[in-house]
Symmetry: D2
Subunit: 348 residues, 4 copies
């Protein structure tokens, strides 16, 4: 029997923070989460007012202004940052210094390579501390990185697109089954919650409904995560995101070439073996490629593929819910690993 822990969530008002709050409320080893916001103009509020669907189970949860004292007084064990990149960049070093275990859901701490990180243009108050943390932060995909996560003070929860692509490719790259020099093309499509809760022209219902658009071609920040984690260079991995007229879910269609002599059965066997003990990776048979709806409201990443009859071309499909396995669910999974709980606690 595990003792319970006290989680705190900074940024509980956004889509990711709210999904995380819902998961933590049901987590068997968590006490009621402390909800915080870090916006000058943010009023303290009631979580159930912001997310009426959660009323009943969360009637009494209020969202308070962030303060270190409040965190200390609450006996917080683990701190989730669902904050903008810059805010995470500011809060995480101090949180770690104060002894909290931290799971950051922003893009602040995911990139090890300074050149990749440059696109974020972080302006750190204490560059030395930030740099140390850049080096020690664990990249948060537990299927691939559990030992490092277990020992980390700060886990950088992986990006939603990045999770879908990395989990799909990791097994075959690790197994040396792909002709990587030819280049890997990732054509990904995401629901609108991935763009956040802030109303913009791009997220207006009338603009999105009935539409599809590609964006950030050759320039999406998640591509850096993919390359770093998969050990590919820029020329080897190309990533194009699209905005889908659905509220949530990601499907990535990934174009690769298998090495000479590799058969579909080899590819399938490699995937199944690599993920044999992974609780949230479902490998689908070639009869039915994964679809977005398979993974919605679950912490699963669904992976399947089709190979042309005599090879070498392979189409790999990967689906997940960007708010769960792509964000809040994976954050809980990371917490489970950090604190020694079973990875699936609170997620099935």
């Amino acid at each position: 029997m595990h003792a319970t822990v006290q989680p705190a969530v900074v940024g509980a008002t956004g889509y990711t923070g709210a999904e995380l709050t819902r998961l933590l409320i049901k987590h068997p080893h968590c006490r009621t989460p402390l909800l915080l916001h870090d916006r000058e103009d943010g009023a303290a509020g009631d979580f159930a007012e912001l997310y009426p669907q959660s009323a009943g189970s969360a009637r009494a949860l209020s969202i308070e202004r962030f303060a270190w004292d409040r965190l200390r007084d609450s006996g917080t064990d683990v701190l989730f940052l669902c904050t903008p990149h810059e805010v995470s960049r500011r809060l995480a070093p101090e949180a770690v210094e104060r002894g909290y275990r931290v799971v950051d859901l922003s893009g602040a701490w995911r990139l090890k390579n300074a050149a990749n990180r440059a696109v974020y243009a972080f302006a750190d108050a204490n560059p030395v501390a930030a740099s140390l943390l850049d080096a020690s932060a664990a990249y948060g995909i537990p299927e691939l990185n559990a030992p490092e996560i277990a020992g980390a003070r700060l886990v950088a929860n992986a990006g939603c697109y990045a999770t879908s692509v990395i989990l799909a490719l990791a097994a075959w790259i690790d197994g040396g089954l792909l002709e990587l020099e030819h280049g890997v093309i990732c054509d990904a499509k995401s629901g609108v919650s991935g763009a956040g809760k802030q109303p913009t022209a791009r997220t207006h219902f009338v603009e999105v409904s009935g539409n599809l658009s590609a964006y950030n071609v050759f320039g999406h920040r998640h591509a850096g995560e993919m390359r770093e984690q998969l050990g590919l260079d820029d020329g080897q991995l190309q990533f194009t995101p699209h905005l889908l007229p659905i509220p949530r879910g990601i499907l990535a269609t990934i174009y690769v070439r298998a090495k000479d002599g590799t058969r579909a059965t080899d590819l399938a066997a490699c995937l199944r073996e690599f993920y044999a003990r992974a609780s949230f990776l479902r490998v689908h048979g070639s009869a039915r490629l994964p679809e977005i709806r398979f993974s919605l409201h679950t912490n699963y990443c669904d992976v399947g593929f089709a190979m042309e009859p005599d090879g070498p071309r392979v189409v790999l499909v990967s689906c997940l819910d960007n708010l769960v396995k792509g964000a809040a669910g994976q954050a809980v999974q990371n917490m489970n690993v950090m604190l020694g709980f079973d990875q699936t606690e609170g997620l099935l």
Copy 2:
């Protein structure tokens, strides 16, 4: 053969203004419309950049800052105001004074009754001029009000909800077929473009998608138009709007009681006779009630009804496209009437 006229559109960047621009471009009696905006922060821009779907047919159309001189120099004959209520309230009196025929698509000039108008809280610079114009403005539903529109300097284009309800009820009320004391209930549902192009929490794709909500219960401003035009008092007409997860279209379900002895055939005959010469009112048989898709991208209002076997209860259904018959299409129809063109010019 009619000579051509020069239209100008103030507020061409919104949904209504853009739809109007598209209609005017194709109008056989209109020269290329002059496009204007009245926003301090609004940059002059290219219409096709804002609405790329119109590129090709409108490649050269730029949107300029509003100025009376520009209007005069362009030889404008008819001025369409697709502006916020307050802006219309400010521009219309001067436009009329300068001799322009004006069609206003806002709610600024629709209400004759000062008590109804009070909900808008207009702050007129020149209350006397405004008051005179309040009295002389024609309410713009050409099926019901063509003679007045033909002679008007200012036409107040009817509200989208108001058009759907008024057109559905006018025939039976005029024919004395309804038991009005029992009360008329209008339960209406509208697509999101009715809420305008400004991004808000309410129009965010994730909030609207998969949802339905009632709003402004007992307090929607279009209810005043309905009561004034149909000659009903507050107790006789009740209106509830809902926000539908679709980009455009309105369906109003209207609950009435027929007077004793009135049969379904009487109701049908009344509708068909009343609208016998109306080009944009389609009366549907009881076998198939109108649906929103019937009227999309058209200037039609589709009306049909079901009566319970022995009466007196009747469910009346009315559909239209809020951007066409509920706004821009009706504005063109009003212009046609004002300028002596056939009502259908540019609208079929």
Copy 3:
């Protein structure tokens, strides 16, 4: 500590049956459900193949052909019928005779009044047995009918529309606060899963998307349930359903008149008191009427209302998820009551 029970589901391939299966799998007092189908042409199959989203948690669940022997051998305690009306009409009497507790999710056993039942045109093999069961079946809304449900052999799970309307109105009618002679109008809107899984022209994506339509005006079968349970006659309650372009969810907008002297605070107090011990009824304050998304994927019915300033008109809004509180969730809740479990078991 309760012993576990063995549930069986006939018709697990439909939307309702699948949702029920998902709930039963997670129910703390239920063993893995036995899944059955009753279609001549139905092949035994794998539940996770039909509903890939459930793979992982339900990998081993197969759907077998219905047979009484299979039921007996499995040690089934409670039988859920997610079958067409006629099949439920055939299976339920024998199931009850064989000693099973039965929850029927079809419309077969909901109506007490033979005249109302006539619209279904049931052709019973044994009319006497059917008639006895018609009389003894409990109407399955636990908030209103728990004692009868607790003792029943057969529970007729309430219709989705009926649940939304009955729960909204029951408190005020019970409290004598409404002027019922004026007539109650229920304008309801439902997502497409309410129309079932069978592909038809009406459920084709292209026909539904971007559309709204009223249907079965003055003729929907759920109206009979509403009248019987609320004690209203045909003239007192009018019901109009609409098909929404969303996968799931119901919103009912209900028009009533309060009796003279009744204030909004009286109405609110009545609702809160009536449902003070109801686990799945959320009464919302007038500041924010319920929306469909509040209740999705939950077993809650959300109720709220607006009253005009001086009365007597009231707009009552009720929302639920047609597959959960409107079907599978309520079926589990009914089972909980029948078997003496807490009503919320497996539903929070």
Copy 4:
């Protein structure tokens, strides 16, 4: 001034046939189209009943059973086949023999290469006649093939996906700007009307809504058209279609490599020159890639691209409305070319 011609449409009840009918009704050089169906079980019907949105403009149009006599008596000049592949395969040879100009919108006559055609498994009654027609049929993309179309008896209207991909790639391949040996990858996404009007599990609203799925990977029949028209072999072009939760529209994301030394300005210039006289091809600047909504309800194909800073990788995006430029609009455009009208007649 052109004399008017008499068009006939076989298969006017489907989505493509209905869209075509709407276009022909408005075509300045066409008499009211003769509408026919070729289904044993098809009842003659009223077009406006099937497509109520067209009532008013098409009130009197009935759909009759197909018969050669009816065709002859009507004075038909041009025959549009919106029929299943097999029916087109049967009707086209006889129609050509009888002297009609034919535009076939099915896949029956698009493929020149017998090996590609094999996937359709046509069973021709007169293989010799069919083979001759296979050879003489013109592939119907007027931007690329106008002279051949002008002289053809039978035009095989190009597939919707094929049109989007071929138009996007033709200029650069013609100009020799691409490194084709590396392989071209076409990741395309289509709305549901592309799957036809027949209700199936795949087109059920609940299955499509909120979802995205890849299908026919390595096996879609339009890939053959693309390869034949672009002169690529199987290894050079790879095509993956996806089903989008929208009613209409296609977006193709195409991955290519430019030859050494090719700059973005070269690519842009090539596109603009190649399509300088094309009325329905809009080349977009790199500042804004085309989106599906740009092309909806128009006959435009919108093309744009992004190139990585130093090349050679290019992402090419192509959008069109699958029912207009991908089917009915292009069919009218083909007719215009065949009969010597301006390509844009009836299409702007």
